[in-house]
Every structure is written in structure tokens, then in C-alpha cells.
Amino acid sequence: MKALRNYIDKVKPNFMPGGKYEKLRSTFGGFETFLFTPNTTNQPGGVHVRDAVDLKRNIIVVVLALIPALLFGMYNTGYQHYHMTGETATFWETFGYGFLTVLPLLIVTYVVGLGIEFSVAQMRGEEINEGFLATGMLIPLIVPADVPLWMVAVATAFSVIFAKEVFGGTGMNIWNPALIARAFLFFAYPSKMSGDSVWYGAGEAVDGFTGATALSLAGSGNYETYSFNDAFLGFIPGSIGETSALAILIGAVLLLCTGVASWKTMCSVFVGGAVTAFLFNQFGPDIECLNPETGKMEINAVGAMAHLPWMQHLVIGGFCFGAVFMATDPVTSCRTETGKYIFGLLIGAMAIIIRVLNPGYPEGMMLAILLMNTFAPLIDHFIVGRNIAMRKNRVKANK
């Protein structure tokens, strides 16, 4: 490591102001601090020792927590593909297919996202923020395997520029950048983001294969096509990283043990979702209703979703992934502890409400989180307002 350090020290002057490659200063700094924790010391007027933790450490925990979902997502992509084509494949063939499908997505998001981050940091003359290391991992995990790479590139660029950098970069954004990327894809290219054909990669389907996701099946009253176990383990079609509740929960354990994600937010989302779904189970409209035109009893989509068992709700679609990795983003969630409970409960409730009451739009999690991201500062405003009121009352009581 000494040699590497010496080499960096040797080339460093080229990147400093006045050097040959001054324009690449931020980029150089980014790589240097990536390799070596800087030698800066605490300055007068403040503490002399500091906690060992920094933002890089927190971000790397998030990336590690995403690994189980990523690996399973790769396997499941292959599994679903071979399931569609009806071919038989070994474990490694299955994983290999998924690996080759997902890897380009990962590379494209990181190259596009980091490219923009590096150039913006350079323009502002700032250090490069590590926030995108997590975002770049999240984006491929919440898109269908079949999405064209250029769309991912456009969506990533859109979210990094318009959801993050225009607000001032990591820590200043209002909405979760990864979800903005997904929302952008969803509304700009709906045909590539939902429906029955986007989850499997290229290839001819065998006869009788429908390809519908668990959520769209649930909307037609056929949720039993996928058992709770399949949905929990993740052998169902869906966005790359979202299908396996088990893999996501392994990540959740890491996030909670390290304290990087707030258990208050995470648990509140699950509680909010479970309670809302349970209420729909109890009091939702009937599954079948009379169609006045035909005079026959027909499946009613709202009723069908309302009677999807609450446990099933939590393991299908993007609910788990959103609760564990998206809602807990500290920047875009509430920053007060009481606020986190409200924020989480409302996300869970809102996600289920959108799923049930708007059957034309099966996935409620993304919009629920983005909606609550918008209201998080408002929730905090009222929580902090109570503290302000307490202080004012104390003054009055003293007079």
C-alpha cells in the first residue's frame, strides 16, 4: 500500500490548482479518498477527536445490504426466463443468464450516474459525494429485467440531475433519486415497465404461459397462482430485486443491526401496510358483483385486491423492497423520531390503498413513498412546532 500511496502523492500535484489536470481535481479527489481515508485532522475551535464513522461507511453498509437481493435477483431473472421458454437449465446456467442480464444494467447506471456526479462536483469545485453508490445499486434492482439499457441511462440521468443535483446534491434532495428514476421510466415508457411480457428477457414463450405478475393476478382474483412461500422466497416475476422478501429481509437485518436504517420507519411501513390490508380484508367490497350488462356475477378488481390476504400483500410487488431500502433513506424521510412513525405508517397505508382502490395501477409502493417524501418536511414541521410551542409556553408560565 506504501507504493500506491507514494504513487498518489507523486501524481497529486498535477491535479491541484495550477497543475496539468486541474480540471479533474474532484475526480482525482474522489478516487484518492476512496482508496485512502484522508489525513485531515480536527481543527481549532472544535472537537479534537471524532467518531470513526463517515458517510462512506454508511453507504457501503447499504450496498452490502443490497447484495442478497441483487444475487437472488440475478438467479430469479434466469429462473423466470427458463420458466417462460420451458427449457431446463442448471443452477449455473440460470444464474449466468441473470448475471449477464443484470450486469449491463448495473454498469450503465453507475457509469451514467457517477459520470454526472463527477462532472457536477467538478463544476462546483466540491468533493464527490458517495450517495450515488447506493442509488446506482438501487436503480437496477427496481426495473424489469427486459428494460432497454438506453432507457435506464436516460432515467438515471434524469433522476441524478433533476431529483438531486438541482437541489444541491446528496443530503439536499426531497425525493428518493432511485424512485424518481423508476417513476420516470414508469410514466415515460409505460409499456416497458408493466404488463405481462417485460419480466423474462428475450425468447419465445411456451404455450399457455401468461407471464402476469403476482399483483396483476391478484387484481383478477387469481392470487393463489403464486403461493405465499413462492412469493416470500421470490420465485415470482417482478422487478429484479423486489421479488424475494427473504433476501430483502437479510439486508434489513444488516441495516437494522448497524443502525444505518431506522427501525422506526421500517417497522411502521410494515405495520401501516398490514393494518390497512387487514381492514380491507374485513370490510372491503365483495369479490364478485353483478354486471348489469350481462346479468352475471363477475370478478370485481377492487374487491379482488381488497380480499388479497394481508400477509400476501406484504410479500408481493415492491412492498418489502420499498419498506426496507427506500422509505428508510434518511435524507428523504422524516428527520424527527416521532415523525418517522407517522411517515412509515402513512407509506404502508397509502401503498395498500393505491393497490386496492386503483386496480388500473397495480404497484402503489413507489408512489406512496414519493408522496410521503413530499410530505416528510411538513410532518417534521408540526413535530418541531410542538417543541417551539413548549418553549413559548414556558416563557408565558414564567411571567
Binding site: 464513522v53 461507511r57 416563557v395
Partner: protein, 447 residues
């Protein structure tokens, strides 16, 4: 005894280098200095010249706005230097001791027969008034102001801090005499540790005693004020430390001007960690002679959270009872953010320190990362046991929004109260500086 206020929030940094409660003999220092930079809100006017002979207790400087506030020489001797910094700002006035006895008789006075004004006048005359700090803002107190209360914390919970139970032993009567003097100025509140042993503190007379339990910053007087009798807008309070109370007690009960102080010399780089009897403003070189284990160290007058870095021939700060020596951290570390970091201390659970029980850590001065915007939430709150939202307060200060700052409680905090917030801050923001800027802005705009 009163009820115990248990503080759940806080953090004890498990810093290596604690001292046993023993004294060691150190040769008396030759040089002593008073540093006007220790007194916030004081504009010094130096009234001596280099070469002047001064007695212990005679004036070296006074405040330009309040000439009656004097900074006096702690020893008898000769002024050998007036060191100035940028724009001729006075940094320190150095006195070389001549070895004359250090206690000076100013005549005892019976506190009971004196009124409030006479007490304050005597404190001003003897140079003891700057022992007080005024809140809000942590500044030198205005002698003409009315104070709601005087607060004393009798235990220091900061890393490697001195044990006042130990320091005070032998001076119990003088401590009580000091309390009697303070009670003339305003009602006195004494905060004690629930495991404290000194009867001087727990059985203090004529004052309100409150017992606290919990991690640092339970010993910070600001935290105690917040739980006992919080500062509201428009109110002023005084704070003072136990050793200064003893000194004030001696002035009135015995007529002695006593500038002797006990400091604890600690830190992982100190060979012989111990308590040392010395004098206010003493040069630290004798305490550190043949006593530092490595070359590249930082010497701090005070503790690692709020102290001031001083050179090896620097001087004790006016309010400091501690000298800490820790390694400098100006080294690079390969992939430090990824390594398991078994030897690193962190309040966050991303390192293993939370699993290692009482293991003590050698901490250096490295920042362990670069400055970022606020990202993580609820880390500052966890180490501030007050009903304040620190992050929102800091953001209001950064935005220079004075109304918000007041609403969010800036009157109730000073740097030492939020020093732990700065320690744990993932984004490495200089929060004490941010707060100081906010306090200075408040002084300028609101007063």
C-alpha cells in the same frame, strides 16, 4: 437527598489514558500566562508593559467596555511578554514568577454583613469576577445585570475529566464559604453525580442540590440547567466551576487570594497520568517533561471535546482543570471506510465498538472522513439530553434565521453542551463553530 434525574441520552467516549486519583510532584512552572482568548465577549486592554513588576492579584488587563472587569496576574513576578496575533489581537500576557509567596492577603470579610453590590464589588476588585460565565452565549458576565440563578456542576463527565470529589477534598469548608458568597448574588443550584462521594457537594447548605445520573454530557452545566430551571428568552444566569468557588470562598472567609489549581494530566500518550497541584495559567512544560510517550502528539488544555490545542510550552487555559495528550492523526489509511475497524471507536453500530464492553480506545485527531451535508438523522439527538432538536437548530443557525434560532432554544446551549454532537456527526460538520457563529450573531443582533 433529592431525587435523581436520570439522563438516558449521551455517550461516554471510551478514551484510553485515564488517571488514578493520585497526585504527583511537579516542579513549579516559571512562566504563567493569562489568555484573553479564553474569555468570550471581552475586549482586552492591556495595562502593563513588558518589564513591569506585578504582584499576585494585580491587574494585567481589563475589559474595554467594563473597565471594572479585571484580569489579574496569578503570581508575583515580571511581565516578560505580551504576545499578539493577527491584527494585533492580544493572545497572551506572560508573567515570569519571582518565587514570592503566591497567596496574597486582601482582608477577610463577613459575607453575612455584605449586600449584593458589595459582594460583586469585592469579586471585581480581586479579579475573581471572570470566574463566572454568563449564559446565554457563554460570555464574561456583566456585573450590572440581574441574574436568575447561579449553576454549578460538581462533576465533569467529559472524557478523562478530573474527579472533583478528589480535587475538593481538604477544601470543603472553603467550598461552602464560596457558596455562601454566591448565594448573595442569586439563588444557587448545585448539580451532583448520584454516585458522588463528597459531602461538600451533596450536603451543601443554602443551595438547591440536584442529583444526576447518566453518560456525558450529564456533567455539563448547560444540560443540568435545562432539567432544573431552563433559561427562557430574556433571562441571564451565571455558571461557575467548583475550583473557582473554592477560590472565592477563600477570598471572603480567609482574605486569601489563592490562584492554586489542581489539574489532571491524562491521555494515551502520557506516561505518568496523575493529578498535579499547580497555579492558574501555568506553563505546561514541567508537567509534560519526560512524560510524553511518542513524538507526533497534540497537547490539549482541557478535554478532547472542548479543549484548546496548545504547544508543548503553552499555558493552561483559564477555566481548564485538565491537560490531555493524544496522538495526532495526520496519516492516510488504506480503504479505512471499508476495513472492519476493530480498533476504532464509534457510537454508530457500523463498527464493532458497541460490542466490546468496556474496552478503551486510543483515539487520534484524524477527522475520519470528509465534510458532507447532513444525511444521517437522529444521531445528534441521541447524545443531547435536552428537549431541543439539534439538527433543526443548527440548520436555523446556518440559515441565519434569528427567530427560528430563538424558537428552537439557542439561549439554552453553548459549545460544550453540543460538543458530543460534533463528535458523532457522520457528516463531520464543525458544529461547535456553527453554534459559536450563531451565538455571536445573536449577541450582535439581539444582545
Amino acid at each position: 437527598m433529592s431525587d435523581v434525574i436520570k439522563l438516558k441520552k449521551g455517550l461516554d467516549i471510551r478514551l484510553a489514558g485515564r488517571s488514578e486519583t493520585v497526585y504527583s510532584q511537579v516542579a513549579a512552572s516559571e512562566l504563567y500566562a493569562i489568555k484573553p482568548t479564553d474569555f468570550h465577549g471581552l475586549v482586552p486592554k492591556v495595562t502593563v508593559n513588558v518589564g513591569d513588576k506585578v504582584a499576585a492579584g494585580s491587574e494585567l488587563m481589563h475589559d474595554k467596555q467594563h473597565p471594572e472587569i479585571k484580569l489579574v496576574s496569578p503570581v508575583s513576578g515580571e511581565v516578560v511578554a505580551v504576545n499578539r496575533g493577527e491584527r494585533r489581537k492580544v493572545l497572551e500576557v506572560v508573567v515570569k514568577a519571582d518565587g514570592a509567596p503566591q497567596t496574597v492577603n486582601v482582608g477577610a470579610a463577613d459575607v453575612k454583613s455584605l449586600n449584593r453590590e458589595q459582594v460583586i464589588e469585592k469579586l471585581l476588585e480581586t479579579g475573581a469576577w471572570p470566574y463566572f460565565k454568563q449564559r446565554p452565549y457563554n460570555i464574561v458576565a456583566d456585573p450590572n445585570a440581574q441574574f436568575k440563578a447561579i449553576f454549578i456542576s460538581t462533576f465533569d463527565s467529559a472524557p478523562l475529566a478530573p474527579d472533583y470529589d478528589f480535587i475538593i477534598s481538604g477544601n470543603e469548608a472553603d467550598f461552602q464559604a464560596g457558596l455562601d458568597v454566591l448565594a448573595k448574588i442569586a439563588p444557587v443550584y448545585v448539580g451532583i453525580h448520584n454516585n458522588g462521594t463528597s459531602k461538600a457537594f451533596s450536603d451543601a447548605k443554602g443551595v438547591t442540590v440536584t442529583s444526576f445520573a447518566g453518560k456525558h454530557p450529564a456533567g455539563c452545566v448547560g444540560i443540568q440547567i435545562n432539567h432544573v430551571n431552563p433559561i427562557n428568552a430574556g433571562e441571564k444566569v451565571l455558571t461557575i466551576q467548583p475550583q473557582e468557588v473554592v477560590a472565592i470562598g477563600k477570598i471572603f472567609s480567609k482574605g486569601e487570594l489563592d490562584f492554586s489549581r489542581v489539574v489532571v494530566v491524562v491521555g494515551s500518550e502520557i506516561k505518568r497520568k496523575s493529578y498535579v497541584r499547580t497555579t492558574l495559567g501555568a506553563q505546561v512544560s514541567n508537567m509534560l517533561k519526560d512524560n510524553i510517550a511518542s513524538d507526533n502528539v497534540r497537547i490539549i488544555s482541557g478535554n478532547v471535546l472542548t479543549g484548546t490545542a496548545i504547544p508543548a510550552d503553552g499555558f493552561l487555559g483559564f477555566y481548564d482543570s485538565q491537560v490531555t495528550v493524544i496522538p495526532e492523526g495526520d496519516q492516510y489509511e488504506f480503504m479505512g471506510w471499508l476495513a472492519p475497524g476493530f480498533n476504532k471507536f464509534s457510537a454508530s453500530h457500523t463498527f464493532t465498538a458497541w460490542l466490546t464492553g468496556n474496552k478503551e480506545y486510543v483515539l487520534n485527531t484524524n477527522t475520519h472522513g470528509e465534510h458532507r451535508a447532513f444525511v444521517m438523522s437522529n444521531e445528534l439527538e441521541k447524545v443531547l439530553p435536552m428537549d431541543i432538536y439539534p439538527e433543526f437548530l443548527f440548520k436555523a443557525i446556518m440559515a441565519q434565521d434569528i427567530d427560528k434560532m430563538i424558537e428552537l432554544g439557542i439561549y439554552e446551549v453553548v459549545e460544550e453542551d453540543i460538543a458530543l454532537c460534533e463528535f458523532v456527526c457522520t457528516s463531520k460538520i464543525a458544529l461547535q463553530k456553527v453554534l459559536r457563529n450563531g451565538l455571536d450573531l445573536m449577541i450582535k443582533e439581539v444582545g
